[in-house]
Amino acid sequence: MVRVATLTPTPLLRMSPTQTAGAVTLARPCWGQFLETPRVSGKKEGAACGQSPEDRAKTVAEMKLILQTLGFPWHFVALEEVFGLSPSVLRCSAQEPVGAVGTYKVAVDSFLQQQHTLGTERAGGSPSPAQGEEWLSPPGTQESQDPAGPPPAAQTEALSRLFGSVKTLTAKEEFLHTLRTHLILHVARTHGYSKVMTGDSCTRLAIKLMTSLALGRGAFLAWDTGFSDERHGDVVVVRPMRDHTLKEVAFYNRLFAVPSVFTPAIDTKAPEKASVHRLMEGFLLRLQAQFPSTVSTVYRTSEKLVKAPRDGCAAGPRCLLCMCTLDVDAADSATAFGAQTSGFSQTQPPTPRAGAGAPTEAGGAQDRCRGAGPCGREDSRAQVIEQLCYGCRANMKDVPSLDLLPPYILAEAQLRSQRASQEIQEYLVENGAEEMQTAESRAWGHQESGARIA
């Protein structure tokens, strides 16, 4: 869905009520002032909704007209570009000073160079549909405000295949949200923005809160619905509109004739029970009609949520997709919860950091399933699943094949599990050395006591 924000010179965000969650402004980091030169990012998700290229082009043209009158710099990003992201987007970077913004760009550029050379080696003619490497846009395109043309057809096809394979609308919506977040993060980091403002209104956040609870993301409510979300480290996501209900926004837009663009989204015209999101929206709005304090009560509750104190990115492993600290304790097999999550991993070992009992099993199991073929596929699926939080795991149940995922996710998953198994190997060596020492000292002890008796 294309989303638009119109901005006045006083940075008040005005939006059409349907485009709530996505109109994004990116603020340049600056000393002293919070907002300066905001930029507007428009996202094109027509491929995920099955829109024809002509419709998408028309919508983009409409948006451009409006954005040009704003006087702010703006970017257009197509959702297909997720296939060109580098795995560094999934890594949480610590707070960096403005000058160091180049390190992310350097990482991205070197990744793109790598992939480009790999692509030109392998392509030689028609692109094969297996991996996303051949379809990367050359490094310059992502910098420009106005992309040269529509994204490559192969990427669009890959995107439609990905969303076509997801079984439920709930999973589709969640997945779309995740990909969109990654893409916005990428744009923000590439251009050196420290803050991203989204247009989530009070009503939308109340619905999101209840939906997150239903989808198993209760542990991360404070980040998902709070005013500021610092889980990505260097880029902070801020929600300035969270005090205003959709009704207020709609009235404002109408009374002040704010131009807006509406395009169908992935869930347009979906019946009420099509997904958890729709169901929760219907529930809350119906309740609101009879009890007008519903939305504000839910909103006030979300205000009271306190984030558990965490210092930077150091504390514990993070979920691969949503980048929240993992809330899964796979070693706890006594509960049904533990049984369900360990069921995802099939024959695979529990999370490498689980404890002393795990290392030997981990080493053994990984050796067993190292080969290619069906075992290798399960292995890579389990590899990804065990790095996800509970909510993301539940979501992945509806994604039958992980091969269709954008390559940066799979690459990062592999990197993390390799790193983890390296740590296990080190631990095993240390442990082995210790055991030898205790065995020796026990042997000495026996000898001595034997001598004494004799």
Binding site: P17, T18, P264, T268, R278, R286
Partner: protein, 101 residues
């Protein structure tokens, strides 16, 4: 006995998708026994303008929760909601604030 009324019916926020994508409709409501109010208007819209999926627009007697109704740029709650009696040349605007259109 009510005389025929000429009103402008507008749709926004995605609601227009249910009406062939047309946002503004200038309609002439025929004369009838009872005076025209929003309740009757909704029935008339359902019969004559709504092209598909009536359940996405109308729920029971009233509009689906999440669809705002403005009469002459004023909230219909201030005017009596369904019981507001339509005047000639009124502008009734339906804005959908729902994510799913």
């Amino acid at each position: 006995m009510a005389a025929p009324l000429s009103v402008e019916v507008e749709f926004g926020g995605g609601a227009e998708l249910l009406f062939d994508g047309i946002k503004k409709h200038q309609v002439t409501l025929p004369g009838q026994e009872e005076p025209w109010d929003i309740r009757n208007l909704l029935v008339w819209i359902k019969k004559n303008l709504l092209k598909e999926r009536p359940e996405l627009f109308i729920q029971g007697d009233s509009v689906r929760p999440g669809i705002l109704v403005l009469v002459n740029d004023a909230d219909w709650e201030l005017l009596g909601e369904l019981d507001y009696q339509l005047q000639d040349q009124d502008n009734i605007l339906f804005i959908s604030t729902l994510h799913g259109g």
